[in-house]
Symmetry: C2
Subunit: 339 residues, 2 copies
DNA sequence: ACAGTTTTTGCAACCGGTTGCAAATTGAAT
DNA sequence: ATTCAATTTGCAACCGGTTGCAAAAACTGT
């Protein structure tokens, strides 16, 4: 079937160790030997079996990439960045779809069966128990888009959602909105909880603000639309901070269909700045998560943990500042504040 | 570190083979023995190492899932289906992002290093050389969303793009459009070539049709928008068949911004029926690819190939019928045909 | 040319499993 | 009880690599 170490050794007339050494860097081989082995390997089309070597080295260079957000277009961007970033540093993403899972045990089992070197949990809606379960199994974990904490159990990379909530509040207030709405994602998502907390806390600095809030069932278009339809039955707020972009787009669609216009009648600000938010027919004002930084640093931390053979890694949260991307769903800064 | 076969064997006071056998189904073990081993395994928290066993069995249950479409939201749907479907049958997707690759060699090497059991190439824009390269390396390959052929080199699962092109033509003609446009994806994509061929051939059945055509650079929003902007400078057609949904949405956005309305001034029909096409603020009339069937059958074929230890698999194309999903970007069937 | 040092090489054991084969056990039948 | 067949078990070799250790080879300096 496939050509092995032994084949190359025989062909080159050397020992198996010699062959192994030419393919492990840092090993002691003379130039003569290396040439000879490489030649033989070339001729036979030999490539070392990564899995076999993992047996002795204990490293597979496999990284579990686990997520449950397979219906939020933002996560295609996320996957694109992660797969690219991981393969650039020689790691291989083993993709795990946790959409219907509520118990980490199954995925844990499969990840340990494949002895992944580490796990990246890329989700803002998975309960922390998942990350912790992986970590307890002795596997390095980093939780991207997780909840910030000054002393996290698992390294977290993302944004400070509380601060993002504040930023949304400031942005709306600065544009003269006074009756504000928070339309969160699922209530159990830590991201939504934190954004809400920040949003509320910032508004306490202002006296004349009216705040209402509610939650959509998922981070999805239809949930956002449904929730906004519900809100429009009553007296809607002047502007909403929506849980994320896809939710915002759902809300926008409901508003349009109700014959109202954005940003004149209702303002919307989202969060993520997914590619689609910039499409001209959406043109969503939103708070941008610095995706490439988050991914880059997530991978850096993972590499760091992998190099520390000890499990004495001291988990840290790394958060990156967000910024408001001004587009067309909020009235501009200097505009008049009353219809 | 982790608990091994040997540990369990010692604890249970049996041979290593016995333990191995209780975890390989189809092996001969008495009930007594199995109970005993399972108990010991339980106590130690043992789980067999899939990679180690792959060494002797020659099966890793790893499947390469390779694609270069990480910027088309449709492919999030595709990945969601594939990851779910694969893990449901006990296979693990090793995700490969080919976005910037032009040469199969690198990805080939890495896939063989990890001795994947098979490769699923999920892309309509990768040149066939990729699938063929994998196949030549002796790995079972199925090409999802590839080009139909009655005697394919590699099994193909998808739709008959030529027929889809015809269907688009019939749909437009039936709605009274006479000046038709084909706005393809990248000219080198087989999907675009075939859709064009079908579109043209069907129109030969009609005498009074005016056909124009052009191509967008990628299957992406911005490429679609750019191309439509260009078309609107001249005299646009009455209706366009666009390369795919995301391209259609780009085109729609250009049309709107030009102050024209859909479907009154210009009709658009897309292809894919990605989730977003059904969003009420997009509401795109489109030709639906039966995604779940395509994925399901792709996986079935893969399993089939894996079970045939021989490589005597006779590759076949499996194509599934598409259907038109009527939404709001084409005038309805019975409508008057002139403005 | 020789002893001493450094580098290179091969041997053999090991990583965590699987499996063909023969020995041991069990069960059935007389 | 005894024979024979069927089932279960363990031994040992193997899958494709890696690596500690000691022997061999290559340098060094004199």
């Amino acid at each position: 079937m496939s050509v092995t170490l032994k084949d190359v050794a025989e062909r080159a007339g050397v020992s198996r160790s010699a062959v192994s050494r030419t393919f492990t860097d840092g090993a002691s081989v003379s130039d003569k030997m290396r040439k000879r082995v490489e030649q033989a390997a070339q001729e036979l089309g030999y490539h070392p079996n990564a899995l076999a070597s993992s047996l002795t080295t204990g490293r597979t260079k496999l990284v579990g990439l686990v997520s449950n957000n397979f219906h939020n277009p933002y996560f295609l961007d996320v996957f694109a960045h992660f797969t690219q970033g991981l393969q650039d540093v020689g790691l291989r993403p083993l993709l795990v779809n946790l959409s219907d899972e509520t118990d980490p045990a199954n995925s844990m089992r499969m990840l340990t069966q494949y002895s992944v070197d580490g796990v990246i949990v890329a989700s803002s809606t998975l309960p922390p128990s998942f990350s912790i379960a992986f970590q307890d199994a002795g596997v390095p974990v980093v939780n991207s888009f997780g909840r910030f904490s000054s002393a996290p159990v698992v390294p977290v990379v993302g944004i400070d959602n509380v601060e993002a909530g504040r930023m949304a509040a400031r942005t709306l207030v600065a544009r003269g909105y006074r009756r504000l709405g928070f339309m969160g994602g699922p209530k159990i998502a830590t991201s939504t909880q934190d954004r809400f907390a920040g949003f509320v806390s910032e508004l306490e600095n202002y006296s004349d603000i009216d705040l209402s809030y509610s939650y959509a069932d998922f981070y999805s278009f239809s949930a956002g639309r449904r929730e906004m339809e519900r809100l429009l039955i009553g007296t809607p707020a002047e502007a909403y901070f929506c849980g994320d972009d896809v939710l915002s787009i759902g809300a926008l669609s409901a508003i349009q269909d109700a014959g109202l216009s954005v940003p004149q009648d209702i303002g919307i600000i989202g969060l993520n700045d997914m590619e689609m938010a910039g499409w001209q027919n959406i043109n969503l004002t939103t708070i941008q998560q610095p995706l490439d930084q988050i991914v880059r640093v997530s991978i850096e931390i993972m590499i760091d943990m992998l190099s520390q053979s000890q499990k004495t890694y001291n988990p840290q949260s790394k958060v990156f500042p967000c910024r408001v991307i001004e587009r067309g769903t909020l009235r501009p800064l200097g505009a008049s504040q009353l219809a």
